[in-house]
């Protein structure tokens, strides 16, 4: 009886895992099929191993530029939100004045509002300050969307730190800012990890804002590059579309696999605190 239930459990888990992996395998098959390949012939689960597709896709789709842009946007956004959000979280946790209560209340009440709600009026503002089709503009947009989450995570983690840390720093002559930067910030690395994990992939994958703010081909991020390539150049060339999509997911998959342990831990830490 015990054996049987164990076998059932294993079988189910293996089936779920296969269900999660098969679409990726099929994407790889499609990416490696030659342009002449028609599905009816031969074993469709076995690709033609036409590696040339990846070279062609890379050159035609400009996905390399898009990857660099996505990386710069993600890095810039995370840096800006960690600094501003960390400082705000510190002020909120340690200087609970009326002003800081207001800041926290404002950010918290906007935490659940998705970006699409204010994207159109934001677009007119961005046009006026010449921030459309710039990476710094996109960094500002993504930062405001991630900021409430950063402030929430940082203030929660900092509240849990003993106040003696601050007092000792003050005795040593630290000001508010240097206390945060030298003492508090290094002590809450798990908060930073949690924030990066909860928000990093979302910024990297952003499409709903990119569609408005990154229209020029030299500035587009990965999703925007893919969607434009598929609409304008892909057409019937499924082998090129598939190989571009495959290239596009490689960086996130690699990063996820490298950091998977910290990832799962940070995800549960951050989510259950929220």
């Amino acid at each position: 009886m015990k054996h049987a239930s164990k076998a059932v459990r294993y079988t189910l888990i293996i089936m779920i895992c296969l269900m999660c992996l098969i679409p990726f395998y099929i994407l790889l098959v499609l990416a490696l099929n030659s342009p002449q390949r028609i599905f009816y012939e031969g074993n469709i689960f076995l690709p033609d191993f036409d590696w040339q597709n990846f070279v062609l896709a890379w050159n035609k789709s400009k996905i390399g530029t898009a990857m660099l842009n996505s990386a710069l946007i993600t890095f810039g956004t995370l840096a800006l939100t960690i600094v501003t959000g960390g400082l705000a979280g510190y002020a909120i946790a340690r200087r609970n004045t009326r002003y800081n209560k207001f800041v926290f209340g404002l950010l918290l009440s906007c935490m659940m509002i998705p970006g699409i709600i204010n994207t159109v009026p934001l677009y007119t503002l961005m046009q006026r300050i010449h921030a459309v089709n710039t990476l710094w503009g996109m960094i500002l947009v993504c930062s405001t969307l991630a900021l409430p989450s950063a402030v929430f995570i940082y203030s929660t983690f900092i509240r849990a730190l003993p106040k003696e840390l601050d007092e000792a720093a003050a005795l040593d002559g630290c000001t508010g800012f240097s206390t945060f930067w030298r003492i508090i910030f290094p002590a809450i690395k798990p908060a930073t990890a949690s924030f990066v994990i909860l928000n990093g992939f979302g910024i990297w994958n952003n499409y709903a804002q990119a569609v408005f703010f990154l229209q020029s081909r030299s500035k587009q991020n990965i999703p925007q590059a893919l969607s434009i390539f598929f609409q304008q150049f892909g057409g019937g060339d499924w082998h090129l579309m598939a190989s571009t999509a495959f290239i596009a997911i490689v960086p996130v998959v690699v990063i996820f696999l490298i950091f998977q342990k910290q990832f799962i831990k940070g995800l549960t830490d951050g989510a259950l605190k929220g």
Binding site: R9, I92, R95, I113, A208, I264, T268
Partner: protein, 287 residues
């Protein structure tokens, strides 16, 4: 008289406040104003009162978009939680390869929903899709139909793809919730003679409430603004049948109906406010 010194370090939150006010709060308030105008994005705007809102509810496409958005959100939230909880119960024991399985099941969730939509498009496209030919080779040609070209089935596919992609995320939260339940409680129930189902229903489930609340609320709110996966998998088609409100906002904005599109955004905002307020209420009553 001694002057009270102001503690300047309380203003360390100022950079965040400025950033957020300029790029979030200001556009949000401006959107309220814009939603009452007929602005086309270029010329002069004139005040039209609630005309945009009246137009919205008179527009069949808009009403269908509301329906699509709500069905997608509620369907996704229900299925994501059932599937995620099922996965978590299945995974909540120690076995060899557990962390590998967890990584595999979570993997789809880190990938852009836009790209996921494209991948499923390759699989399901009528006539040409991979699964169509795979089932034909396996001798099961009737198993996959022309799902993408009719309304209820195209929407069902979108919900299922969304569930397939994010079930791992709900699973991780439920796993953490399950692991926080102490073995003593379950053992006590066992000693009292509770059946496995009673133990799950009467002990585990109530103790899992915080995780359930987090998952349901985030899934509903996230799905109400769905954009990416629909853009790549159906482009809102057939016709406008699977268009969501977010996509409608973008298309109206590009269609030079800027004022109208901000009115639609306000309506979506009000819709999203409902689960937000309910969740805040629930959190408060707990505390």
């Amino acid at each position: 008289m001694q002057k009270k010194r102001i503690d300047y370090s309380q203003f360390l939150s100022l950079p965040a406040l400025i950033l957020f006010s300029v790029f979030f709060v200001y556009p949000l308030l401006k959107g309220v104003g814009m939603s009452l105008t007929n602005w086309d994005g270029m010329g002069k705007a004139s005040f039209v009162g609630f005309k945009n809102f009246i137009d919205f509810f008179a527009d069949e496409r808009a009403i269908s978009d509301i329906r699509t958005t709500l069905i997608f959100a509620v369907g996704s939230a229900v299925l994501l939680n059932l599937v995620g909880l099922g996965y978590a119960v299945l995974m909540n024991s120690s076995f060899r390869g557990k962390s590998l399985a967890r990584v595999i099941i979570y993997l789809p969730a880190i990938i852009s929903p836009l790209i996921m939509g494209y991948i499923w498009y390759f699989l399901l496209q009528p006539g040409r899709g991979f699964l169509y030919h795979a089932f034909q080779q396996l001798g099961l040609p009737d198993l996959i139909g022309n799902w993408m070209s009719s309304y209820p089935s195209a929407l069902a596919v979108l919900v299922l793809v969304n569930v397939w992609q994010f079930a791992g995320m709900t699973m991780i939260i439920y796993l953490a919730g399950l692991q926080s339940i102490s073995g003593d409680v379950l053992e006590a129930a066992l000693i009292d003679g509770a059946t496995p189902w009673q133990r799950f229903y009467r002990v585990t489930l109530p103790l899992l409430m915080p995780a359930i609340r987090i998952n349901v609320v985030t899934n509903i709110i996230g799905s109400l603004s769905v954009f990416d996966v629909i853009m790549s998998l159906t482009e809102g088609g057939p016709g406008y049948a699977t268009e969501s409100l977010s996509i409608y906002i973008m298309r109206m904005c590009y269609g030079s109906r800027t004022g109208y599109s901000t009115a639609v955004a306000m309506i979506l905002f009000l819709i999203i406010l409902v689960p937000v307020l309910i969740s805040m209420r629930l959190t408060k009553s707990k505390a």
